[in-house]
């Protein structure tokens, strides 16, 4: 009886959670049915699934509207900014966690305090600076800006992870003749794979999805990332709903797949950012 009552009590919980789940994925229904509908059908059948599924919109999007190029740009910018962030953040976190030097605590707190500084507050002078050094419309320029916004989180997380690596392991490595850099390469980095996975998942999703920085630093059409390309298509071709929704579909899809593959790391990343407080 007790278990009957307990499971009856759970019915309303399931109902509430199912309704919320439906609200969460409902927009995807619209995106999917519109993406695979022809434009003619859209105007006579807006809300139901397409009678004739077609790839017309998708093909037009990639061939005539530069979405293929935009996808390539997004991949390059995301990849480049993560690689640069890793190269800069790893040695910095190593120094903050395993070396003694003056002003260490101060510099580390200053770096971590920048976590969450709003883009809009600093972006205009950065834009002016980048235009002076000719780094607008370049992969490197925009990647450096993303790197800067990623750095505080990377350094914070890596420092706290490296700190937890026991000194004895490093001492043993030193006895085997490793110098400081080899210790980092051969011991610390391999031990830290999970935290690297977390950082990469979180920042891939952030950089791929970001609009403001991308649209300010990549102005030429053939430099647009997917989010910029999508927002431009909406502005220019508002009468082409199937193109717009196909764009939304292919901006969202890679991140949904990445999230499903790296769910554990993603959730860990979200929480470790919050635990800073």
């Amino acid at each position: 009886m007790a278990s009957m009552r307990a499971s009856l009590f759970k019915v309303p919980i399931h109902i509430i959670l199912i309704i919320y789940s439906l609200i969460s994925i409902f927009p995807f229904y619209y995106v999917v049915i519109t993406t695979f509908k022809s434009r003619d059908e859209f105007y006579i059948n807006v809300y139901a699934p397409p009678e004739n599924w077609t790839l017309e919109g998708v093909i037009t999007l990639y061939t005539d509207y530069g979405f293929g190029r935009a996808t390539l740009n997004s991949v390059i910018v995301t990849f480049l900014s993560i690689v640069i962030t890793l190269i800069i953040a790893t040695p910095a976190a190593y120094a903050y966690s395993k070396m003694k030097f003056i002003a260490r605590g101060f510099l580390l707190s200053l770096t971590v305090a920048l976590l969450g500084v709003p883009v809009m507050i600093v972006i205009i002078p950065v834009y002016v600076l980048m235009s002076k050094v000719n780094l607008l419309d370049s992969y490197i320029g925009v990647s450096l800006v993303y790197t800067a916004f990623n750095l505080p989180f990377y350094i914070f997380l890596l420092t706290s992870f490296f700190r937890a690596i026991p000194q004895e392991i490093l001492d043993a490595g030193r006895i085997d003749g490793c110098n400081r850099f080899e210790l980092l390469k051969k011991i610390i980095v391999p031990l830290s794979r999970p935290v690297y996975a977390t950082l990469i998942v979180i920042s891939t999703i952030w950089v791929w999805n970001e609009l403001l920085i991308a649209m300010m630093f990549l102005r030429k059409d053939d430099m647009h990332t997917v989010t910029v390309a999508l927002s431009r298509i909406v502005g220019r071709y508002s009468m082409h709903p199937e193109l717009i929704q196909a764009g939304a579909f292919f901006v969202a899809l890679p991140m949904i797949l990445l999230f499903l593959a790296g769910r554990k790391y993603f959730i860990q990343g979200l929480l470790s950012g919050a635990l800073k407080e």
């Binding site: 399931h14 953040a89 120094a95 764009g247 929480l271 407080e277």
Partner: protein, 296 residues
């Protein structure tokens, strides 16, 4: 003096080489821009010349610029989101952590809005919320046609439509946060309460919520920051601040001052005001928390 002596004794300069690239980049992207903003905020830039303008940019923004005032009020209105987030996030976190089936599945589905781009979400919702959009279509079909509105076009409603999209997309972060918070609560507390005969609601209000106090504090502060400085993309994609500035916000005003009105001095001044607001807010809540820590 002690510092200088220690600096002289610091023989090993290698650690500084390890941190140098990160410090340089952070200087160029954060510290230099803040100083530049402050400097520019005292100037007016016209025809390639900088004219010293004193505090006039600030004066204009605070006293005359009705759009900036409208933006500030809209940011304040959007703060309504903070209690909404708090209540819904705790509610769903509590429900998901009940020992139910399909927990993992619910959790996965619920997070999806959070990981897709605001641009994609905005593009979809601006279609769904149109007058001839699917939301009005559904309302019409289930007999709620009195609720049919021009969700993004009606100046009174638009800000609340923007708010709903933000809730739809950002709520999962809070849920994840509180799920983690709840699983950190010592289960012995619930067992003791069970012996005392506490019911579900008593557990919620006398154990779960008090135990989550620090997570709740963090989540409130986090959301205030989000509302003041991290929602540009929503407004830019959904409404561009319209209709007639009904959904304009401080970030959008900074952006438009700089790139539409080409008034860099004024844009810098508003960026400084926003920075100051956030700085004071963070500082105050930090002090407040220090005090409550000392008392307890």
């Amino acid at each position: 003096m002690d510092f200088i002596r220690r600096l002289k004794n610091q023989r090993d300069y290698k650690p500084y080489l390890y941190i140098l690239p990160s410090i340089l980049l952070l200087i160029f992207v954060f510290f230099y821009p803040l100083i530049q903003n402050l400097y520019r905020s005292f100037f007016r830039f016209a025809g390639g010349k900088a004219i010293f303008f004193g505090l006039n940019n600030y004066k204009y923004l605070l006293l005359t610029d009705t759009i900036a005032r409208r933006a500030f009020l809209n940011n304040l209105t959007l703060l309504l989101i903070v209690p909404i987030f708090l209540i819904l996030a705790i509610l769903f976190a509590v429900l998901i952590t009940e020992k139910i089936r399909f927990r993992g599945l619910y959790q996965t589905i619920i997070i999806i809005p959070y990981i897709i781009s605001i641009v994609a979400a905005g593009v979809v919702f601006s279609r769904l919320l149109r007058f001839d959009g699917i939301i009005n279509f559904i309302l019409d079909n289930i007999g709620l046609d009195v609720l049919i509105h021009n969700w993004l076009g009606d100046p009174k409603l638009a800000i609340f439509s923007v708010m709903s999209v933000i809730v739809w997309k950002e709520l999962p972060f809070g849920i994840i946060l509180f799920i983690a918070g709840i699983s950190n609560i010592n289960p012995e507390i619930y067992e003791a309460a069970k012996i005392d005969g506490a019911n579900w609601w008593q557990n919620l209000f006398y154990i779960t919520i008090p135990q989550l106090k620090s997570v709740i504090n963090f989540y409130i502060v986090y959301n205030v920051m989000v509302i003041f400085a991290w929602i540009f993309t929503y407004v830019y994609v959904l409404t561009e601040g319209g209709p007639v500035n009904a959904t304009t916000i401080l970030e959008l005003r900074i952006f438009n001052l700089a790139f539409k009105e080409h008034n860099m001095g004024m844009a810098s001044a508003l960026a400084m005001l926003l920075f100051l607001m956030i700085f004071v807010f963070v500082y105050l809540q930090f002090r407040l928390r220090q005090e409550t820590l000392e008392e307890s």
